[in-house]
Amino acid sequence: MPVPADLNIDHVAHLARLALTPEEKTRFVRQIGDVIAHIEQLKQVDVTGIEPTAHAFPVANVWAEDIAQPGLPVELALRNAPAQRDHMIVVPKVVE
């Protein structure tokens, strides 16, 4: 299958915030190329005047009553944090 000329794997991986190894890049370009080649058949379909479907049963304007409800206790909310201290999530310094 042809590799799509315009699949810039470095650019797309950067957009996805995903570090890929050189081996992954080579493999994914080939495999995704096969899938895109299959997807290209959609270009045969006449979609003139057809509305897009985002959801099979669109539900618009779902409102909830504005009533205060208990949220997750801090301990539970932080239970899965990779690093925490004093009820806060610890991350590396983001400003110099």
Binding site: R17, L18, H38, L42, E51, T53, A56, L72, R79
Partner: protein, 487 residues
């Protein structure tokens, strides 16, 4: 007792529990013992907590003794696909990213099952983040098919189907984005139902492709599936796509004969690539319905061939967006050698995600990226409209559609190494998700090699009661569901 406890149906077990001939603790202990005996070979479970399950069972027995039993699910062990939250239990999505994650709260379906008295049993394996059709993409272990341990159970809810087929649960929950309940149900010889989009709340389900995902039941029989669906279905304020509809009594609806139905056979589902033995089994099922007086009519779903292409644009686009939350900051895997906060994102995601998840994130990001959106994503959404319209047009003439669930019986582990070949396994199930329809798979025979074959019934929106009644009529006249693998 003729049938072992672990292969009894929910209905049979509920009767034993109701009449005091069995306690939930005894039943749960039997399921635990069975799981310990066979799961080293089947590998359906990521984890289970024996003491917790027995404590829930004891609480159920106490309720029943006090006259406070809550219905047919009271004391019944239910297995959960490991993407559905049960407070205090692991929630891994079979991914290294969430290997140590513990659910802080219950999914709405979990709350509903607890309110119905069910025992929340173990965590069932899947393709990582529900992306796959064989359960080989699990980061922890591949699940095997109980009918032939060299073969896959299907996927992505392979653990849910295999556990049931192996007698390791009474009923289980799965999720279906492109066939992930129906295909493994077919390959493992059990009943699996994907509800209409919006019937069952997605609150507490790990999101893969939000416009396609639905939670649904796996069961030994159509009646068991009807009971479980009744417990799961209903409007939920916590899921804004949840639909307010009047809910029938699915189980009571089975007994009322509404036959003869008008049943459509979509010709596009019987073309190249369909295994002859699967085709023969489905043809026999069609002949059965004709024999009971149903009107059988050939229909056309002309955009079927575009389903896989549309799906792999929409599902990967939604997945690339949904999985952006796994950044290594608030929860999930965090890389240890990152030099700053942004580097945490890149490295945590590289270490935490497996190959299939990475491929789909890359493809989804690509089709959404600047300059490609109209050509791929918008066009796919328009073809999605046409696919949905095909089904609605067919329902002008027929009540439901009959098709194969999967083009082939269970394939060998490792057989489909190429991602596109794996994607094409879903050709008969994907259209249903794109159109938001209900569909189920019911066993309809075995291959010459002894592998289960599934019949797919596709219904009209929110007409699950009719769909179940049609499947029930077939099941009552056949004994496929009474056969079990020898493990």
């Amino acid at each position: 007792m003729s049938v072992e406890l672990h292969y009894q149906t929910l209905v049979e077990l509920a009767t034993l529990l109701d009449t005091g001939r069995l306690s939930s603790v005894e039943l749960t202990a039997a399921i635990i013992a069975r799981t310990k005996a066979v799961d080293a070979r089947v590998r359906a479970f990521n984890s289970f907590d024996e003491a917790d399950a027995l404590a829930q069972a004891a609480a159920s027995d106490a309720r029943r003794a006090a006259g406070q039993g809550r219905g047919p699910l009271e004391g019944i062990p239910v297995g959960f696909k490991d993407v559905i939250s049960v407070a205090g239990q692991p929630l891994t999505a079979s991914s290294k990213m969430l290997a140590n994650f513990v659910s802080p709260y219950d999914a709405t379906v979990t709350t509903r099952l607890k309110n119905a008295g069910a025992v929340c049993w173990g965590r069932l394996n899947l393709d990582e983040f529900a992306m796959g059709s064989s359960t080989e993409n699990s980061a922890f272990q591949p699940t095997r098919n109980p009918w032939d341990l060299t073969r896959v159970p299907g996927g992505s809810s392979g653990g849910s189907a295999a556990a049931l087929a192996a007698g390791e649960a009474v009923v289980t929950l799965g999720s279906d984005t492109g066939g992930s309940i129906r295909q493994p149900a077919a390959l493992c010889g059990v009943v699996g139902l994907k509800p209409t989009y919006g019937l069952v709340s997605r609150y507490g389900l790990i999101a893969f492709a939000s416009s396609l995902d639905q939670i649904g039941p796996f069961a030994r029989t159509v009646e068991d599936a009807a009971i479980l669906l009744g417990a799961l279905a209903g409007h939920d304020e916590r899921d804004s796509t949840s639909v307010k509809v009047e809910l029938p009594d699915y189980r009571a609806g089975l007994g009322r004969r509404q036959a003869p139905w008008r049943l459509g056979i979509p010709k596009e589902y019987f073309g190249a690539g369909l295994d002859p033995e699967v085709a023969a089994a489905v043809e026999k099922a069609i002949a059965y319905y004709r024999g009971m007086g149903c009107e059988i009519k050939e229909v056309s779903l002309p955009h079927t061939e575009y389903g896989v292409g549309v799906y792999y644009i929409i599902a990967t686009a939604e997945c690339s967006s949904n999985l952006a939350r796994y950044d290594g900051i608030r929860y999930g895997h965090r890389a240890q050698d990152a030099h700053d906060a942004v580097d945490i994102y890149f490295k945590s995601r590289a270490e935490g995600f497996g190959a299939e998840v990475k491929r789909r994130i890359i493809l989804g990001t690509y089709v959404l990226s600047s300059g490609y959106y109209d050509a791929y994503y918008l066009r796919a959404q328009k073809v999605r409209t046409l696919i949905r319209q095909d089904f609605l047009n067919a329902y002008q003439e027929v009540d439901a559609l009959l098709t194969p669930t999967s083009p082939t019986p269970a394939f060998k582990a490792g057989e489909k190494a190429d991602p596109l070949a794996m994607y094409l396994c879903d050709v008969y199930t994907i259209g249903v998700n794109l159109a938001g329809l209900p569909a189920l798979s019911v066993p309809c025979g075995f291959s010459s090699g002894g592998l289960p074959i599934g019949l797919q019934l596709i219904g009209q929106p929110f007409r699950e009661a009719q769909l179940l009644a049609i499947a029930h009529a077939y099941e009552q006249a056949h004994d496929w569901h009474q056969k079990h693998p020898s493990l």
